[in-house]
Symmetry: C2
Subunit: 377 residues, 2 copies
């Protein structure tokens, strides 16, 4: 089977690039003395998880309890659910433990911690620390950190394990020096929180940090036990735009068909059958110097970028391709009916529209495998 046999739009995964990206990050984190706990929120695939955990201890991070259930059922049982726990989800988490999962949950809230302490059955718990992202988490200096740690450590049904932070604001960095500084800040805040807990006489064996940009540019992980990152496996135009990767490592693209030519319009336009649903409405590169619209086009078979054109507007099932710099649209190369691939701004958003990956190995376009995804909640 080849790309040309697929119905479009379809999600294409280049396994060769995925394997190289996974190895680069694993080697880097291991060299710094920490363990990589790959975040499966982007991949949502057991086959990808097997590649991403090679060379690590096998533990993974997830963003939904559905992912946790899916990976546990596939035998990957060491799981951290890295979204703030809600009291109403404790029963579902307990059921995962009963089904064999070594599940870790997180909280930043005394009332939730008390509910976990009371209702949790075999859950590991981390306290979420805010290192400046201003999403979830407590400040490392907050007196309530010790109070929550103490409540959890004293609860007979759960195991207090440590702290977790996420430098999501690394996505605001624009240079690799800024990213390296952010990685050091993320490390220092997490370690400081852990040291306060230890100083209060409470064991704190886990110090978990992570985001793809900080993981990539961390120079020192002293005191950190594990690093969580996910999008590095696939990379995307936003990661390339902030310097966290190069464009030639992007492993995910959308296969589309050219469905129309509009040379009669001012500047010209080409239409493809990949629109807002198949590419996502994410416009994260709009904040960068290198605005890539809704995605950049590439040769369907080689995956090599086609310069000068981009998907600059979308409707639900239409992508509008123009030459934003005023160049020429290659109508001859992209005849109506021909295939094209699109690299996207934010692969986590795009991949979620698809039930499966069609896997290729580098150039040529032969589909070597099909891997299912675990979408939804």
């Amino acid at each position: 089977m080849n790309l040309r046999d697929l119905d479009t739009p379809a999600l294409i995964l280049d396994r060769t690039r995925l394997q190289a990206n996974a190895k680069t990050m694993t080697d880097h984190i291991n060299r710094l003395g920490a363990n990589l706990r790959p975040h499966m929120k982007t991949a949502k695939s057991v086959e990808v998880a097997h590649i991403a955990t090679q060379g690590n201890t096998g533990g993974i991070t997830v963003s939904t309890l559905k992912e946790a259930e899916y990976f546990n059922a596939a035998g990957m049982s060491d799981i951290t659910y890295a979204v703030g726990m809600a009291p109403g989800k404790i029963g579902r988490a307990n059921a995962l433990v009963a089904a064999g999962a070594d599940l870790t949950v997180i909280t930043d809230n005394l009332i939730v911690a008390q509910a976990i302490a009371q209702e949790g059955r075999g859950l590991n718990v981390l306290i979420e620390i805010d290192c400046g992202d201003k999403r979830g988490g407590m400040l490392a200096s907050d007196a309530a950190v010790i109070k929550i740690a103490r409540e959890l450590a004293a609860a007979p049904g759960v195991l207090f394990r440590g702290v977790l932070t996420h430098a999501g604001h690394s996505y605001d960095c624009r240079t690799t020096d800024e990213l390296a500084d952010m990685a050091e800040h993320e490390r220092a805040v997490a370690v400081a929180a852990a040291e306060r807990i230890v100083a209060a006489g409470i064991d704190c064996p886990v110090v978990s940090v992570g985001s793809t940009p900080t993981a990539r540019f961390a120079r020192n992980l002293a005191g950190v036990t594990e690093v969580r990152a996910g999008v590095y496996m696939f990379a995307d135009l936003f990661q390339a735009g902030i310097g966290a990767c190069t464009k030639d490592v992007m492993a995910i693209s959308v296969l589309a068909t050219v469905i129309g030519h509009r040379p009669d319009l001012d500047g010209g336009k080409l239409l493809i059958d990949a629109g807002g649903l198949s590419l996502s409405k994410d416009r994260s590169t709009a904040a960068l110097d290198t605005d890539c619209g809704y995605g950049l086009l590439a040769d369907a078979h080689s995956g090599a970028l086609i310069p000068g054109i981009a998907v600059t507007a979308v409707n639900q099932e239409h992508g509008h391709v123009t030459a934003p710099g005023g160049g020429t649209i290659p109508y001859d190369r992209l005849a109506v009916g021909s295939l094209v691939r699109i690299y996207v701004n934010h692969v986590c958003m795009t991949a979620a529209a698809y039930g499966a990956y069609h896997v290729v190995d580098g150039e040529g376009g032969d589909i070597v495998e099909t891997w299912e995804r675990c979408n939804g909640w």
Copy 2:
């Protein structure tokens, strides 16, 4: 079963509002002498289609061949696939006809028309006309319109049926007068194209127009045989923002759980477990006077809006709720663990993240049915 028994995030559909929205549009189009062919691209559900086709002839519009296959298998066989046909999709369309579908496809391209004429087996075909949207379509005055109509009319295996246009640029209108003018323009262009074809001696029994805003504000449909519209069934914040509906008819919302409070941050913040994947990254209301962020919050059980707060940022599984006008965040009402509903910018994008609708009837929160959706391609 009640809302409080659902895992969050979850997609909620208010059937009472859906039924009222469907009836309002059907009555309006019938009063103007045309038939409504509801567009199922938003709903992707047989149960919704049964409600939307009540009072009409039963024909529907779809945005993917997968939808066509799904609806045809459910006995709704009169289907117009309203995205420009690609040569590579003719086989799949023929298979639908072989499976009993009365399928109509569209084209704006001579090469595609020739492929359809040659390879089509029982397909109905419309020529797509551009009435100013600058997406797909030929200008009504284009000499090639007659050439394509003639090729298709002469082909033994297919049936040339007429013209189709879509005033997608009605989404740029900001007043109901502008929308009424746009509806008249859409009508006039489609009718002019049909008249040219008839003048060339070719039958043109179908004149198809539509978009939710123009359908809603059309005052005259003389010469039009059918109107396509879809999002009117559900409505959303963008439709309300351009005056195509009021906010109290919105029938779709996302049920979420409050997972964090951050009164320590400047201005305060509340976190919910509905982020970019569950709400979508659509920011269409940013272009309007009434920017609604990624969505507005409502009481979980009644569906009534909670004034003053909005989802102003999202990560993959986190929604950040702030008070953009500088007001107070009702932390007491929205305690950690409590449920809340979110109305969204663009319901077509949001609904696609979910496999099913949880159906309520007005206030109270009892789940009366669960309806599956047909996502993907």
